[in-house]
């Protein structure tokens, strides 16, 4: 069976690559239709394989770990390209291929008028390939390959409209911030190689406990002795912070909304940004052994969950609202991992992938209908024109707000509960963050919902004329996503989270002392009772009050927003300024880096080294040459004088050093033997 899985995996991974190559290199031959047909067809192949693997893995207990080919051998280390197909991977590949396929289809409609149509499909398939490489990796090298690969495509896609200044700026920013994360990530990989002498997952995981027991430390700063595992985990987590947009490396994600909307759905909501979460879950055997790292993960995640959500409340761009929502939800997932509820994190990842992709695509549907107008202030009352979009957006919003029985409820509630039950340092703070976060979540998404679909119509007249529901290629994916957004929570909560032998199998490792989900499992009695139970829990009421507030402020009494804004102007200002992260980065890193570079270049390099040292020595030699040249005065007597001086100096020197006899003595003594 493992051979079958191997073959299927290979097909699954390579099909999108092939699609990408076809759409990229042969677009002239294939044309627009041919390109999207090829890529979508191959995506379907990939999806089919993913499903087949999923069935094999989940229901038949299959797995595959092995090398596809040797990437490089060096010394006693080998770097391979290989697959590790287990339960975790199986779940994720379903998510990736599923969402990706839908987004491909959706893009036919969304990108219909764009010049870069084939290029777009090429990028998307390439992305899918990279993402699949990432999740199927059996070693850190391939993980890193996928990691950076998705980063690249993300960069390309954010800057897809390369003539738009904000888009290219956003793409550059996204790449650079991601690179900061990768910087940590590669250090983490280096540490893994150093201390485990391999970068294969299996060996690393198998030896983690031993390393922990041996209490190996590393002296990063002189005098400090930090546990190696902590250092590894924290550096790896820095990578995750970049990719999964955790504070303070979250700044790129809102900018990434400059890309086409399907991309926002696919990359910046459903899949790529969750790579960090996947990595945390994958590395659970390491993270579990470092409480420090877990605390960091928990606190950063929880902080992000609350504070980025709050920024979402003041955004006017519909996509940005959802983008901040993504940040917030990523915070939840991270916090879950920090609380050792990796399964909950992954589960939320999955539900989030569905409902967030749904929200984005729905927003995209709105945006196309509005002729690429994204400002919420110019919408309103859209429900009349776009019923399907309206309904599906509502489903997404409910799922996001964790209203039972929608999918988001099961995953998010589990996270909040897990954080609550966690025992590691920082859990109390984190609990309040995620708890209050659920209010914020409901507030911002329903604010957007009400502003867009309800209330007064603020749509420009000429847009209104053409306002209608999107074509079927666009709404079919919406429905296809709305269904799982509704049901998978109820369906999968038990088998994934609470079942004794969960569907994640042993791909996630949790130490008994941190196993919060196990405790929660005791209170879980089926999806329905769990949903009912929600009515007596805080998160639910926070969410409901969030919805209510949004309704009150945005639909029922829209003018009150003005009042509130004025009352808490300073707070509003902080939120609008996004806590100053952007300005800080712009001033300190972007400007500072450039200034530093200019200083190095103009002062140290050009002035000091090149002008003073290099050309300076040249000038010194020329000056010396001019000086020495003056000796050649042209006067005969000077020439003769030089000669005589030379004669006398040589004479004096040799006579004195050689014989200690003065010239006078020489002339007066009888040195000449005359017989």
């Amino acid at each position: 069976m493992s051979e079958t899985i191997r073959t299927l995996s290979l097909i699954m991974v390579c099909a999108p690559l092939l699609g990408s190559i076809l759409a990229g290199l042969f677009s002239k031959i294939l044309g627009r239709k041919g390109s999207h047909r090829a890529t979508i067809g191959l995506m379907l192949v990939s999806l089919g394989c993913a499903i087949a693997i999923w069935i094999l893995v989940i229901f038949h207990g299959g797995s595959y770990v092995g090398t596809i080919y040797v990437w490089g051998l060096s010394g006693r280390y080998h770097f391979d390209i290989g697959f590790m197909i287990d339960n975790l991977t199986a779940w994720l590949m379903i998510v990736v291929t599923f969402v990706s396929t839908l987004v491909h289809i959706y893009s036919i409609g969304y990108m219909a008028d764009d010049d870069g149509y084939t290029r777009f499909f090429c990028y998307m398939s390439l992305f899918t390939f990279a993402m699949l490489m990432l999740i199927t990796a059996n070693n850190f090298l391939q993980l890193y390959f996928g990691w950076e690969g998705v980063g690249l495509v993300s960069y390309l896609l954010i800057g897809f409209w390369y003539q738009k200044e904000t888009a290219v700026f956003g793409s550059l920013k996204a790449f650079l911030v991601n690179r900061v994360g990768d910087f940590g990530f590669i250090i983490g990989i280096a540490a893994v190689l150093t201390y485990f002498n391999t970068i294969d997952y299996q060996t690393v995981f198998a030896n983690a406990q031993r390393l922990f027991d041996a209490n190996t430390t590393i002296s990063v700063f002189p005098g400090t002795h930090w546990s190696v595992l902590t250092v590894i985990c924290i550096t790896l987590f820095i990578g995750a912070m970049g990719k999964s947009a955790q504070m303070p490396l979250h700044v790129w994600l809102p900018e990434s909304m400059e890309g086409p909307t399907p991309i926002s759905a696919l990359i910046h909501a459903a899949t790529m940004v969750t790579a960090g979460i996947f990595m945390l879950a994958r590395m659970s055997p390491l993270f579990e052994l470092s409480q420090t790292a877990l605390t960091l993960v928990l606190v950063i995640g929880a902080t992000g969950a609350l504070f980025t959500g709050m920024v979402g409340v003041v955004q006017h761009d519909i996509k940005r609202v959802i983008a901040y929502s993504t940040l917030s939800q990523l915070g939840y997932m991270t916090a879950a991992c920090g609380a050792s509820a990796f399964a909950a994190g992954i589960f939320h990842l999955m539900t989030h992938a569905c409902f967030k992709a749904l929200l984005f695509l729905a927003a995209g549907s709105v945006i196309t209908a509005m002729h690429h107008e994204q400002d919420l202030r110019k919408m309103g009352g859209l429900y009349k024109y776009m019923p399907i979009t309206y309904i599906t957006f509502l489903v997404g919003a409910l799922a996001l707000s964790a209203i039972p029985p929608f999918a988001g409820f099961y995953s998010k509630d589990a996270i909040i509960e897990a954080v609550h039950n966690s025992t590691i340092p920082g859990h109390t703070y984190s609990y309040y963050c995620v708890l209050f976060g659920s209010f914020v979540t409901a507030l911002y998404i329903f604010r957007a919902f009400f502003l867009a679909f309800h209330g007064k119509e603020r749509i420009p007249a000429d847009t209104k004329k053409h306002l209608r529901e999107s074509p079927w290629v666009m709404w079919v994916p919406l429905i296809a996503l709305a269904i799982p957004s509704t049901v998978i929570g109820a369906l999968l909560a038990y088998p994934l989270l609470y079942k004794a032998n969960s569907l994640f199998g042993n791909s996630i490792f949790v130490l008994p002392k941190y196993d919060v989900l196990k405790g929660m499992a005791a209170n879980y009695h089926g999806w329905f009772s769990y949903a009912l139970h929600a009515f007596i829990t805080w998160p639910f009421w926070f969410a409901v009050s969030g919805i209510f507030t949004a309704w009150f402020c945005c639909w029922y009494m829209p003018n009150i927003r003005e009042v509130i804004t004025r009352r808490i102007a300073w707070f509003y200002y902080i939120l609008v300024k996004k806590y100053g992260f952007d300005d800080f980065n712009q001033i300190v890193f972007a400007h500072g880096g450039r200034r530093l570079g200019q200083f190095f270049y103009y002062v140290t390099d050009a002035k000091f080294i090149d002008d003073y040292l290099v050309n300076g020595s040249g000038r010194a030699i020329q000056w010396g040459a001019r000086m020495v040249r003056r000796i050649q005065s042209g006067y005969l007597y000077h020439y003769a004088f030089a000669m005589i001086i030379g004669l006398l100096v040589f004479l004096g020197w040799l006579e004195i050093t050689d014989t200690h006899i003065g010239l006078f003595k020489l002339l007066t003594s009888n040195y000449f033997t005359v017989e």
Partner: protein
């Protein structure tokens, strides 16, 4: 009183055949030249070249003969001398070849130039074969005096006259100093014969050392003057700059070889036991020459003056080989000077050839855009310049390697490093000339016109540094075996 206790043995005239032939033919040329009209000067030219070829052929045929002393040991026939003579004759041959067109154009007297040149050549040949101070001195003077006359050959030029008087006074001073040294040496050793002097100095009581050192300093100065090493170099730039180009061509190459020959006779063969002392002197002279030559050359605008300073620097490098005071070093120095003579010949030849087209080439800027005007000539000059800078695979590089290896062999690593650091400084002015030739556009675009045989000679000359660079082995071995 019996003046001749022993009858003088009959000298082996065959050994001096080249000198005799040269002298005889010089006389012939002198006479012929008097009687042929100006438009038929080609006859004397051909005669001169033919006689040089004849001399060269004799020299080559005699090359394998063993070392022999004759004329009461006043004359020595050995490999060192033969090798040097072959090169000197060859160089002079090329000098005349290049000069013909130039002399015709500038209306300088051709016949006189040839005769004086041949006499000077004769002086050089006598000098390098001398085994006694008397022929040595005579050779030296026979070399210098015609040269002085040649410098003054352009009778209408005040600069040439100035150059001539400077050369005259300075060389008179130098030979007087040399003679003074020789007189003291004679006083201590009671002989003018080089071998006997060597013997006498080797077995001399310590008390006489100061006098020998005194004479040594004088002798070294005499020789250092001849090759133009610092601080006895002052005449070199002025003479190069002041004389007609074809004379510079003559002055720059062959006499340097003779200068080394003189050093070998005087220092290596007459004063081998004083090697510590003259080594010390030569180190100082070499250090000064290398530094001053390379430095001041940078500040020059005149191409001839620049080459003059470059020659000073090159003499410094050559001395590095000599001061190693072992056969390897001498061989390396000999190789260096031979290679240098080719390089100097070639680079001055370019000015001579370019001067043909009317304008006198004086400044570096006159070479502007040579690559566009005459790519081949530019290429050859570039080869020569890079060779002088010591860039492989050209002959100059192996010449440098030879002397440096000799130096390192006697543990003077610091001196080798010093020499190379100044070689970098020196390379600047060579590549600056290449820059002017290649990277700049010419102001005058006319092609350069010169005769076919000059072109051929130039090619041989320029490619010689490449060929000698790729196959330096034969010549180098010859030089090494000479000692």
């Amino acid at each position: 009183m019996v003046f001749f206790p022993n009858p003088i043995p009959v000298p082996q005239l065959s050994l001096v055949l080249p000198e005799i032939v040269l002298l005889a033919l010089t006389c012939v040329v002198l006479l012929t030249d008097l009687f042929i009209p100006a438009r038929s000067k080609i006859i004397s030219y051909l005669l001169v070249q033919a006689s040089l070829i004849a001399v060269a052929v004799i020299l080559i045929l005699q090359f394998h003969w063993p070392t022999t002393y004759t004329f009461s040991d006043m004359f020595v026939f050995d490999k060192i001398g033969s090798l040097m003579k072959i090169f000197m004759v060859g160089v002079v041959f090329f000098v005349f070849l290049y000069s013909r067109g130039y002399l015709r154009q500038t209306r300088l007297p051709q016949g006189e130039m040839y005769v004086l040149g041949m006499l000077s050549l004769l002086g050089m040949m006598v000098l390098v074969s001398a085994n006694n101070f008397i022929p040595l001195y005579l050779g030296l003077e026979l070399l210098s005096l015609p040269m002085t006359a040649m410098v003054a050959m352009n009778r209408g030029s005040g600069i040439a006259a100035e150059a001539a008087i400077k050369l005259f006074v300075m060389s008179a001073l130098a030979s007087a100093i040399l003679l003074y040294g020789l007189s003291l040496l004679y006083g201590t050793t009671k002989s003018l014969d080089i071998n006997q002097v060597a013997q006498a100095v080797a077995t001399m009581p310590n008390s006489q050392y100061p006098v020998v050192i005194l004479s040594l300093v004088f002798v070294v100065i005499g020789f250092a003057f001849k090759i133009g090493a610092v601080p006895f170099h002052m005449w070199v730039p002025d003479i190069y700059a002041g004389s007609p180009n074809s004379v510079v061509l003559f002055v720059s190459a062959a006499p340097k070889i003779a200068g080394l020959g003189m050093a070998i006779r005087l220092l290596v063969q007459a004063l081998p036991s004083m090697n510590i002392e003259w080594q010390a002197l030569l180190i100082v002279i070499a250090i000064l020459s290398i530094a001053l030559g390379n430095l001041v050359a940078i500040a020059q605008r005149s191409f001839k003056r620049m080459l003059a300073y470059s020659s000073i620097a090159h003499m410094g490098y050559m001395l590095l080989g000599l001061l190693a005071a072992n056969p390897t070093g001498y061989g390396a120095a000999l190789f260096y000077i031979l290679v240098y003579s080719i390089m100097a010949l070639g680079s001055f030849a370019v000015i001579v050839l370019m001067s043909n087209s009317g304008i006198e080439i004086e400044n570096i800027s006159d070479l502007q855009g040579l690559n566009s005007r005459d790519p081949w000539l530019a290429f050859l000059l570039m080869m020569l310049l890079f060779s002088m800078a010591g860039i492989p695979p050209l002959a100059g590089f192996f010449a440098k390697i030879g002397v440096l290896e000799a130096l390192i062999g006697v543990h003077l690593v610091w001196l080798a490093a010093y020499a190379l650091i100044f070689a970098i400084v020196g390379s600047y002015y060579y590549i600056r000339v290449v820059k002017v030739m290649y990277f700049e556009e010419p102001k005058i675009t006319d092609p350069i016109q010169y005769s076919m045989e000059a072109r051929l000679a130039m090619s041989v000359n320029g490619l010689a540094v490449l060929v000698l660079g790729i196959f330096p082995g034969v010549l180098f071995t010859l030089c090494q075996r000479a000692f």
